[in-house]
Symmetry: C2
Subunit: 241 residues, 2 copies
DNA sequence: CGCTTCTTTGAGTTTGATCAACAATGGTGG
DNA sequence: CCACCATTGTTGATCAAACTCAAAGAAGCG
């Protein structure tokens, strides 16, 4: 892993606002010290760094404590972004499900990033220690795999407009669950190039489509912030196109 | 499950040519009777039937003993085919990885299909009983999830020509590993409509593209059989477009 | 043989890509 | 604080890929 620096004194898991959303969320709520003990490292990564490379075997799973990152595959024709990670996400979940697995994708930071890292075996033990926690973790993993199916379908069948509306809607909904979106307005460090790489479009066309969405008052944005004016209407666009 | 009829006297797993390719393949090779004992049912399904529906919880995992099927999601805009299953494939692998999970997709038969079904718990036990078998099964599952990532990338970034070449190449390679393709020639019960639904194209355009591949002597086909004349060249097309 | 499901072909249209500038933004060092 | 540079975003013109609509041929099946 490409670590830029070790972060300032780690906050105790006891006061972490994001732990409840992590894969060990139940434990984080009922017994934060149990999480704190397992957390071996807190790492920071500068913006724009590939900090996990395709083919690596991960000894740790990571909770994205702050910042955004994305998961991608490199293809002859360019890169395909598979997923955008927001604060509270678990990274390298598959290393937990399949210990020893070589990851089939890389990870790159969009912003400076802070990761809380747990040895795979310790994380697994934490889940095993509590039946309800194990169930919750399994549900998270299921959602995650089901989402992959859906994403595949989204790319295959929707127009540029529909795909972008869908992506924005999905990101907003994930941020909202973490209390990181207020009234449809949220930090948005994704550049148009990344949207293009995630949806199989060109940057130019992403720009024109975003412009249409802006002109038609669906959304507003500048380089740092996105605001969705009418989530329901945006959702309709996503469904219909 | 939508069972059309119970099949004729089940063949013993001892003489099954496909068991070695299943998720319990190692056990099937070293101790076929252990597999036979766990196999509770052999079912047949007529062609063109949806035999597992989205949202169902599976009590069994199934090995596709004969015939082809596909996995799909229904969307407002039509269906998205996620995967084509060939003989020897495991169906509903995720029910084994996550017992009790509601499947996020449906399954439909392309041809008449025979399934060997194992209670989830028995299958899990069979894997646990042998360390090397457990490892092999985990590897299979990993490949499977990695393939999903790749498929997503394929749809996003390739032209119609590239996608079709890629799909044909991948199917041929999977069939070959099961000794179901000889010299690039194999049974092919997939209709052009299914290719379209898998790749996010229209049937008409799939037809024109297949026609181009035929005219340029990459492939030959009629309704039942596909022949790939030069696998390497087809692979190049898949990579480049 | 008659019906249904698939495949094939034609003509015209739309979506999104390509190529090429140029403008705005956000650091950075001086 | 300003000048400079590297990214990122915006716009125009043109082109190609893929879609739509429509209709006619094969194939397969009862």
């Amino acid at each position: 892993m490409d670590i830029t620096s070790v972060s300032p004194p780690p906050v105790s898991c006891r006061v972490c606002r994001l732990g409840q959303f992590a894969i060990y969320g139940l434990t984080a709520t009922t017994n934060p010290d149990a999480v704190n003990i397992k957390r071996r490292e807190v790492k920071t990564v500068a913006a724009g760094r590939t900090f996990i490379r395709e083919g690596e075997v991960q000894t740790h799973v990571h909770t994205l404590y702050s910042g955004w990152a994305f998961r991608y595959i490199t293809l002859p024709k360019g890169r395909q972004i598979l997923f955008f990670h927001i604060p509270g996400d678990i990274i390298a979940l598959e290393s937990l499900a399949f210990p020893g697995m070589a990851l089939p994708f890389s990870l790159k930071s969009l912003t400076p990033v802070t990761l809380c890292s747990f040895p795979v075996e310790d994380a697994a033990e934490m889940l095993r220690a509590s039946q309800p926690q194990a169930v919750q973790a399994a549900v998270t993993a299921q959602h995650y795999f089901a989402d992959m199916n859906r994403h595949l379908a989204d790319i295959g069948r929707r127009s540029a407009m529909g795909r972008i509306a869908q992506l924005l809607g999905e990101i907003e909904s994930r941020l909202r669950r973490r209390q990181l979106s207020k009234n449809g307005s949220f930090d948005f460090p994704i550049r148009q190039e990344h949207i293009a790489d995630a949806l199989g479009l060109t940057t130019v066309y992403v720009n024109r489509t975003l412009d249409r969405l802006r002109k038609e008052r669906f959304i507003d944005f500048d380089r740092h912030r996105m605001t969705i004016h009418d989530l329901k209407r945006l959702h309709e666009v996503a469904e219909e196109e």
